[in-house]
């Protein structure tokens, strides 16, 4: 399984997290669903779908929290028969990011993912470029940037 990053500062923390938590698939993305790094995905279409769905879930739970006049929920876990999905936000110098983690229940557990996610958040915070201003993505550039990102994420 390969780990690849569009923004290279995310790579080392992500590789470490995958190894320690035993994660099967991981996406690190912005709140808008722009992927910065991925592990385990083999098709671009899967990355795009997972990023869009993950970002939408985070946006929904953020809005629910806002309506309840609460701070945003820290994390969300969905456990199936064989796999678990863990979705959580983290603060970095690059702004608020979202991590989507899929883990096999016979290899890892929610406890392990939570435990090493805290370390991932700390490592990403430390590795992130300071005082960076996120680039504005114009509609005209969107497709080209998406295509460039997917090429990087799949080593093309």
């Amino acid at each position: 399984m390969t780990t690849r990053a569009v923004e290279t500062w995310t790579l080392e923390p992500l590789v470490k997290f995958v190894k320690e938590a035993g994660a099967r698939l991981v996406l690190v993305m912005t709140s808008a669903g722009q992927v910065l790094a991925q592990h385990g995905f083999s098709r671009a279409v899967d990355v795009m779908s997972a990023a869009a769905l993950g970002a939408a879930i985070m946006a929904s739970t953020d809005e629910m929290a806002r309506q309840l006049r609460q701070p945003p929920f820290a994390a969300l876990n969905h456990q199936g028969e064989r796999h678990g999905i863990f979705l959580a936000g983290l603060a970095t110098g690059r702004g608020r990011l979202v991590a989507l983690v899929v883990y096999d229940l016979d290899v890892s557990s929610l406890g392990l993912v939570q435990l090493f996610f805290e370390q991932l958040a700390t490592d990403l915070q430390a590795a992130s470029p300071k005082e960076s201003v996120p680039k504005q993505v114009l509609a005209a550039d969107f497709e080209r940037q998406l295509s460039d990102s997917l090429n990087t994420l799949f080593g093309r």
Binding site: Q79, S108, S109, L110, G111, L112, Q114, L115
Partner: protein
């Protein structure tokens, strides 16, 4: 039938009363999350619980592969302490963290009693 949550604290209390025990926890074996805990300061409950559950799952597979059945009690002795665990039939681990000089037999007895309460 499992015990009400109030009984968990009492079960843990009996374990932590044993001399040289630094803490006790009930851990969900499936997801490695703390169910109840009584720990001294400095013990990282969530970390111990996640790693103990992970270890329990691997030990379970080793026991099955060896054809010796399910594990009933394990004791890991380290330089500066010990980890003692009894899995329950209901999928909970009763965990004790202790000093190196702990009376292992006595802790084991209390862990087994707690496992009966938890079910």
């Amino acid at each position: 039938m499992t015990a009400p949550a109030a009984a968990y604290g009492k079960a843990l209390d009996l374990i932590t009363r044993v001399r040289s025990v630094r803490g006790a926890m009930l851990v969900s074996a499936e997801d490695g999350i703390v169910v109840a805990e009584q720990l001294m300061e400095g013990i990282k409950g969530p970390a111990v619980s996640a790693l103990a559950a992970s270890l329990a799952a691997r030990l379970q597979r080793a026991m099955e592969a060896a054809g010796v059945g399910a594990s009933l009690f394990w004791h890991l002795q380290a330089e500066q302490g010990a980890l003692l665990v009894v899995p329950t039939s209901g999928g909970t681990l009763v965990v004790a963290v202790a000093e190196p000089d702990v009376n292992v037999g006595l802790v084991r007895l209390e862990l087994l009693r707690a496992a009966e309460v938890v079910g």
